[in-house]
């Protein structure tokens, strides 16, 4: 079986790796945001799995409690929690990623609680004081895991986890570098499957799959029949079908800046420092998301650099409806891209892929603009 097929198998909410893990009697924790250092969960011998709401069809409870003007990702998650569709999880870790996620955590805790729920207060800006505070938050989280699951998370265990995660980061970056090729050996849809696997299976097995993939792609001639090279920018996106629609229309996704993508693995955690210091520093100073105030120009520059580095023809903003963070952010990125002469398309979307027809029409129009350039 092609290794890409294995990645595809890992993408459902519950996958064979999760089943095996459960059969061994081990714990699984869901987590809501890339600001939650899964290294700490990993060091506790627990499998961290990114919270998704794949399969959600309607959101009556989400509409009633979070209101219809909350983003559909959070409404879907509340719905799934209420319908006990996260029963394979032993708990959930959340943080103040955004107003909607923090209130999702409250509503789940009050209306459909997990056996264990923990909340990390992530500071809203970056300086020495806030990094210290984040370390304090991580220390509390570590203690909570230790007490709740009767485990000891030693510095050595943390160091080992950081090393394992750094290996993932390095391998993912190596994979992304192949996409700079004029004929990238891997599509954006397949990359989406890789990124979903990254947050859905045990770390060591993910690294093994990645190594296999890189070996398989070594020297492979890539696709050349695409019409343009695209970048995706935005927040939570965990649906390979969304990317496939774009690629079926001839736009090859070659790089990204979204929650599961580059922002999480572009930089390494310092392995020489005290592990909690290193984790606090890394998560606070890595390429940020709009929830971090004061770093807007750095984020805009990051997008602009990737556009240049990966020879991007156009940028697609995938913006979840009702997301305050990303609408405001995109307003500024758009200004920069205009200055650089890079075309962009602002695509508002719901968590559940709906209105595919309208999306196709808009992407098609965008592709025509790019072709005409």
């Amino acid at each position: 079986m092609s290794v890409l097929k294995e990645f595809e198998e890992a993408t459902p909410l519950k996958n064979p790796w999760i089943d095996s893990w459960k059969e061994e009697g081990k714990k699984i924790l869901g987590y809501f945001c890339s600001y939650i250092p899964d290294e700490i969960i990993h060091a506790a011998g627990i499998l961290p799995v990114r919270m998704r709401a794949t399969g959600c069809t309607d959101t009556p409870m989400g509409d009633a409690y979070l209101t219809p003007t909350a983003c559909s990702y959070t409404r879907c998650c509340l719905e799934m929690a209420n319908r006990r569709q996260y029963n394979f999880l032993d708990g959930a870790i959340s943080c103040n990623s955004c107003d909607q996620i923090r209130r999702l955590d409250d509503n789940i805790r009050i209306k459909a609680p997990f056996p264990y729920q923990y909340f990390i207060g992530v500071p809203g800006n970056i300086n020495d004081l806030t990094i210290d505070w984040f370390k304090h938050e991580l220390n509390k989280f570590k203690t909570s895991l230790e007490e709740n699951y009767s485990v000891e998370i030693t510095d050595d265990k943390l160091r080992s986890s950081i090393k394992t995660y750094n290996e993932s980061r390095a391998l993912l970056k190596e994979l992304y570098m192949l996409r700079k090729n004029p004929k990238p050996p891997i599509s954006g849809t397949d990359i989406m499957n890789v990124l979903l696997t990254d947050v859905s299976i045990p770390r060591e097995q993910f690294n093994e799959l990645l190594r296999k993939l890189l070996k398989e792609l070594d020297g492979k001639e890539g696709e050349s029949n695409h019409k343009s090279r695209l970048m995706i920018v935005g927040s939570q996106l965990d649906d390979p079908e969304y990317v496939k629609i774009i690629e079926d229309l001839g736009g090859l996704i070659v790089v990204d800046s979204f929650c599961l993508g580059t922002r999480t693995f572009w930089d390494q955690v310092d392995e020489t420092k005290d592990p909690l210091d290193a984790l606090a520093k890394h998560y606070m100073t890595r390429v940020s998301c709009p929830r971090m105030s004061g770093k807007q120009s750095e984020r805009v520059d990051f997008v602009a650099e990737l556009v240049k580095e990966f020879d991007v023809d156009g940028v697609i903003f995938q913006r979840m409806k009702f997301c305050a963070l990303w609408w405001a952010e995109i307003f500024i990125i758009r200004k920069k891209l205009k200055e650089l002469g890079v075309p962009f398309l602002d695509l508002e979307r719901e968590y559940v892929l709906s209105g595919a027809g309208a999306m196709k029409t808009r992407v098609q129009g965008f592709m025509e603009i790019l072709e005409a350039k």
Partner: protein
């Protein structure tokens, strides 16, 4: 307002305020017109204080004072200490709403692709539209906090990005400072104190002015006097009948957010408190025949000047305090410099809307339940701003908790307090009337 006072302020407002303050001047004239119609002379001091606040902002540039813009959930005591002119940004969206003057800037924001109402809060979104049309003041410095919401932080970031104004932002932690809370974290106050000190250093660097400790202590002393006045005023509202009208408490927040730490704030909050105490002594209510007491744990519907008078006249219903007017910062010991910083930090953590919304929903739930019990209310009305995700998503669980703890019913509805076109006055009235007539009475 008497004719002499009216003419005095009309004269003071004459002349150009400059394009960047033209909106402020319009607001000033709008309020002055409303105050002229006000026959209740009892509130001359608060009215004049409001006008002076607007005049002082308008005059700052001409007088060479540096202006610092900051959000509605922060007190200006550090700025007062440093001799800066405080400019609470939401003075515009709140002050312009009754005159329907936010709408052109909201429309312009829509046209340029900057958000919409359910996504970005219109308390600060008009700022971007107004700035891009040259109709917003460009401050010398900008300050904002990470809470209570993403909208605020993003609107300020976008403004910063467009204007390049030197900006400081402060993180507000999630956890409680009350030792008996299940969310208590003993390091929160220290963290906030350190940030306050860091902010002072930043202000010194920016302004090239020395932060004078003695001035700071005097400011904090005055701030605490005003806090005491408000605490006492809030206490009087527990009486039946409630000794102040539905909008009185709101002005306490306004004074603390615009001139907190000044003698003027002490005087005006004392005046408001003394009037309420006097009314309690005489058994006089804020409205003539109080029949219904409403908890209003969100902001006013700012565009709708007729809503509270209608409630008062139609149902004898009084809204005790809105979430901003429900200013809950306690007076603190400010005898030493460290205690002043401690007080500053605690004041930031407990500020209106920050205290109840910066952490888990339990803070807000507890706040509303205590409000209902302390003020003997008959019902709760949540007029939620559609874009206020953090608050709107607590309304339902809060109403359920309130019902369980007290048996008191709630009405939750969505609207835009800054834009009358989203849910108009008539629709809001109809929702409230139906609730009062069919559920409460």
């Amino acid at each position: 307002m008497d004719e002499e006072t009216y003419q005095k302020y009309k004269k003071l407002a004459r002349g150009s305020w400059g394009k960047e303050f033209s909106l402020l001047k319009m607001m000033f004239n709008g309020f002055l017109g409303l105050m002229r119609e006000e026959e209740d002379m009892e509130f001359e001091l608060p009215m004049e204080t409001i006008l002076n606040i607007l005049l002082n902002i308008g005059k700052a540039r001409k007088q060479g004072r540096k202006i610092i813009m900051y959000p509605f959930n922060y007190g200006p005591e550090l700025f007062v200490t440093m001799g800066l002119q405080p400019l609470m940004q939401e003075i515009f969206s709140v002050g312009l709403a009754p005159f329907h003057m936010n709408e052109p800037y909201l429309d312009f924001s829509n046209e340029i692709g900057y958000g919409d109402n359910p996504t970005l809060c219109n308390a600060s979104r008009p700022l971007v539209g107004a700035y891009m049309q040259g109709a917003a003041p460009v401050p010398d410095y900008l300050f904002f906090l990470s809470t209570p919401c993403n909208s605020l932080a993003m609107n300020y970031q976008v403004f910063e990005s467009l204007s390049n104004v030197p900006t400081y932002n402060m993180d507000v932690p999630y956890w409680a400072i009350e030792e008996d809370s299940e969310f208590y974290d003993g390091k929160v106050v220290e963290y906030m104190t350190n940030q306050c000190k860091d902010f002072v250093t930043w202000l010194e660097d920016q302004t090239k002015e020395k932060f004078e400790i003695e001035k700071f202590q005097q400011t904090m002393l005055r701030l605490n006097q005003a806090r005491e006045n408000i605490r006492d005023f809030n206490e009087t509202l527990k009486n039946v009948p409630c000794p102040a009208g539905s909008q009185t408490g709101f002005w306490n927040w306004f004074f603390m957010s615009t001139i907190g730490g000044t003698q003027e704030a002490v005087d005006v909050t004392k005046f408001v408190r003394d009037s309420a105490i006097e009314n309690v002594k005489e058994g006089v209510g804020g409205i003539e025949d109080e029949k219904l007491r409403i908890a209003w744990p969100y902001t006013h519907v700012f565009f709708d000047r007729d809503l509270f008078p209608w409630l008062e006249e139609t149902y004898g219903a009084i809204a005790i305090l809105d979430i901003l007017g429900n200013y809950q910062v306690e007076p603190h010991n400010t005898s030493t410099l460290e205690k002043c910083y401690d007080s500053l930090a605690r004041g930031t953590l407990d500020y209106s809307m920050i205290g109840s919304c910066r952490g888990p929903a339990e803070y807000y739930i507890e706040y509303v339940i205590n409000y209902v019990k302390d003020y003997k209310v008959d019902c709760v009305i949540y007029p939620m701003q559609y874009a206020c995700k953090h608050a709107f998503a607590m309304a339902r669980i809060t109403s359920e908790a309130v019902r369980e703890a007290t048996g008191i019913p709630s009405l939750i509805f969505g609207c835009d307090p800054y834009d009358s076109r989203e849910v108009p006055h008539e629709a809001i009235q109809a929702k409230i009337a139906e609730f009062i007539e069919q559920v409460v009475l």
